[in-house]
Symmetry: C2
Subunit: 347 residues, 2 copies
DNA sequence: CTTATTTATGCAAACGTTTTCAGATGATTA
DNA sequence: TAATCATCTGAAAACGTTTGCATAAATAAG
C-alpha cells in the first residue's frame, strides 16, 4: 500500500555541471538563443534528454513573467457547443506551445469571480471567458486588463465597452433566419422560448425573432414569448401553458436545442404532430437534433470556427511582446447557418 | 486598437511595507500559521484585500514545491462520459483548493506523451489520466511516479502492475448484464460490436459478453463479433456486413452508444424493426439513447461517481504530506447498472 | 598587425514566495 | 527576581530559471 518518494530533480545546473558549462549557457541553448555555438547547443540538448530534464515552468515563469498558459472560464464543459469550442482551443493552443487551464463556473457568478481570482494567481498569459448568463458586472476581469493580459470574451459577452476582445456569433441573424424559415413554411402563430434578457445572446435573438415577425406583419402573442432559463423543465412548462388554453401556436422558435427537444417530446406525448400541426426550430445544432424523430431544424454556430478564431486572436495579441495592443476594438463575428430538418418540413 | 500595459504588481512586500512588517510575517498571516497575532493577521488580510493582492502561485510553488494544480489527460472532452467526469472532478477539486489543467490527447499516443511532458513541466501535484485505446507503454508517466506525484488512471487503465491508482468501472459486469438481458428478451443470435482489444475496457466487456453467451449455451458467430474503433462509420459497416448476407442477428450488444445509435439508424433505413426483429443494447447511457426512437437500453457508468472517487483519492494521497503512500494497491471499482429502454422490449 | 566587430560564454542579480534560525516580547513558574 | 516557556516577529537563504552586463574568443576591417 505504500511506496517511497524519490526526490531528485534534474535542473539546468545538473546539465551545466555535466558539461562543464554555466547554467546561463544551458538556458540559452534550450531557448534557442542565437548566440550559442551549434555544437554546444547539440551537446546541451543531448544531455538534457539523457538526464530527462524538463524545464520547471514555475521558475521560468517567475523569472520571465510568462507562463505559456492560458485560462478558460466557461459555464459548463458538457454543453455540446462549449465542448467543441474547448477541443479546438486546446488543440490549436497546443500547436503554439501554450497550455490551457479550463474552469467551469457552473453558471454561478460567484464561482466565476473565484475562478478569475485563481487564474490570476496562476498568472495566466491571457484569459478566455464565456460568462454566466447573470454576469452583468465584469470587474473581476479588471485585474487582467490592468496587468496587460489579453481578455477574450466569447458567446456571452459584456454589452458595455470593455478593454477586451469580443468573439460572437451572429445571434440576430440566426434568430431571424429560423423565424423567417418558420414563416416561409406557413406558420402564422409563432411562439418563442427565449433565454433571460440579461445576456446579449438572447437580446439579439429576441430582436431577430421580432424583426422577422414584423417584416411579415405577423402578430406576436406576448403569452407565447418566454424569457427563462433554457432547461428541459422550463420548456415543458411553457408548452403546457401554451397548449392547455385554446389553440396553441403552429410554430415554435426555441433559443436552444434542449428546449426544442423538450417541446418535441411534449408534442409527441400530447399527440400534436410535428411538423404537421406544429413546426419547431432550435439553436446550436446539437447532435441530438439530428437523432430525434422528427429531426429538428436548428441554427449551426460553427463552434470549431469560434475556437480557431479565439486562438488566432490570443496568439496574435500575445506575440505583440512588449508594447502592442492588448485587445481588438472590433468584435470578431462568426457566421451562422440554418440547418433545415424534418421538424419544419411542409409535407 | 491599442492600449498601454500597466505593470504594477502587488506583492507580499507591498503589504509588508504598508504595515511596517516583514514579508515573512505577511506570508505567515496569509497561510494561517499559528504563531501570528490575531490583530496582525486581520491587518494583513485587510490590507491584502485593499491592495488587491493575489498570491503569485509560481513563486509560492517554486519555493514550496506544491502547485495546488492537478493535471488531467483525456482522449476527448466532448464524449458524454468524459464531460461528466471532468465536471465533477473540477468542481470537487475546487472545493479542496486545487486547480485543474485539462488536456486532450485526441486519442493519439504521441500527443499523450507530449501532454504528460508538459504537465510535468508545470509540476502538477498529481496526474489523472484516461489513456488512449492504443496506449500500451506507460513509461511517459514514470517521471511522476519517481518524483512522488500520485498518478490516477481511470476508464482505460494499464493492465500490468504500475505504481499508480486505478479507478475502473465494472466492464465485465456491464457487458454481462446487457448480454444476459438480450438473451432474456429472447435473442438467440447475438452480435457484438466491440472496441479494440488493446484496451482493458473492451477485453473485459468481451469477456462479459462471452460469459453470458456461454452460460446460456448460445453459439457465438465469429462473423458477428467486430473489434474496431467505435465510430459511427465502422458500426454502419458492421451492420451492412451482417445484414446483407443471409439472416442477420436478432440481438446486438454494442460497446458504446454511438455504435448502438448507428445500428438503430441503419435498421430504420433498411426497414428492420427494432425491437421486434432486432434488439439493441449500448454502453454509457449517453443522453442520446433516451431521445432516439426507439430509446436504447444502455449501461450506466455513473460518471459523476467516478469523478468523485477520483478526487477523494487524489486528495487523500496528497494529504499524506511527507512520507505517505503515493498510490493505492487495490483498484477502486465503480458499479454499473443496466438501464432498460424500448430497444430491447419484448412487446 | 592592430583595431573594431561579431560571436560565444560566464557572473550575478533578479523574480515573489516560504521557511529555518535566531531573537524579542510577554507570561508563567520556581 | 531570575529562569523557563510559549508566543510572536524579522533576517536571510533558498527554489530554478532568465537576462543585463562584462569578458573572452574568433573573425573582419583598416
Amino acid at each position: 500500500m505504500a511506496v517511497g518518494k524519490k526526490n531528485y530533480q534534474n535542473t539546468i545546473l545538473d546539465i551545466a555541471e555535466a558539461l562543464k558549462l554555466s547554467p546561463a549557457t544551458i538556458s540559452r541553448a534550450l531557448n534557442n538563443h542565437p548566440y550559442v555555438k551549434e555544437k554546444t547547443r547539440n551537446d546541451v540538448v543531448e544531455m538534457a534528454a539523457k538526464l530527462g530534464y524538463r524545464r520547471n515552468l514555475m521558475a521560468s515563469g517567475l523569472r520571465s513573467n510568462r507562463t505559456h498558459t492560458i485560462g478558460l472560464i466557461i459555464p459548463r464543459v458538457s454543453m455540446f457547443f462549449h465542448a467543441e469550442v474547448i477541443t479546438t482551443i486546446q488543440n490549436d493552443l497546443h500547436k503554439h506551445g501554450y497550455s490551457l487551464i479550463i474552469c467551469q463556473s457552473n453558471d454561478s457568478v460567484s464561482m466565476e469571480r473565484e475562478l478569475a481570482e485563481t487564474l490570476y494567481s496562476s498568472r495566466v498569459d491571457a484569459l478566455i471567458a464565456a460568462c454566466t448568463l447573470q454576469t452583468v458586472d465584469f470587474s473581476h476581469f479588471d485585474k487582467f486588463v490592468e496587468h496587460g493580459n489579453p481578455v477574450i470574451f466569447y458567446d456571452r459577452v459584456p454589452v458595455e465597452d470593455y478593454k477586451a476582445t469580443l468573439i460572437k456569433g451572429d445571434d440576430f441573424k440566426g434568430a431571424y433566419l429560423a423565424t423567417s424559415h418558420l414563416i416561409a413554411a406557413g406558420c402564422k402563430r409563432i411562439a418563442h422560448i427565449s433565454g433571460p434578457l440579461t445576456s446579449n445572446l438572447y437580446q439579439d435573438r429576441a430582436a431577430g425573432f421580432l424583426k422577422a415577425m414584423e417584416e411579415h406583419q405577423l402578430p406576436v402573442n406576448p403569452d407565447w414569448v418566454f424569457h427563462q432559463e433554457l432547461t428541459q423543465g422550463n420548456a415543458l412548462f411553457a408548452m403546457q401553458k401554451m397548449f392547455t388554453t385554446g389553440a396553441g401556436p403552429d410554430g415554435l422558435f426555441a433559443d436552444n436545442d434542449t428546449s426544442a427537444i423538450a417541446a418535441i417530446e411534449y408534442a409527441k406525448e400530447k399527440g400534436i404532430i410535428v411538423p404537421d400541426a406544429l413546426k419547431v426550430a432550435g439553436y446550436s445544432n446539437d447532435p441530438r437534433t439530428a437523432i430525434i424523430t422528427p429531426a429538428i431544424t436548428s441554427v449551426e454556430q460553427f463552434p470549431s470556427l469560434v475556437g480557431r478564431r479565439i486562438v488566432e486572436t490570443v496568439v496574435e495579441l500575445l506575440s505583440n511582446d512588449a508594447e502592442g495592443p492588448t485587445y481588438k476594438i472590433e468584435p470578431v463575428m462568426i457566421p451562422v447557418e440554418l440547418i433545415v430538418r424534418k421538424s419544419t418540413s411542409t409535407n
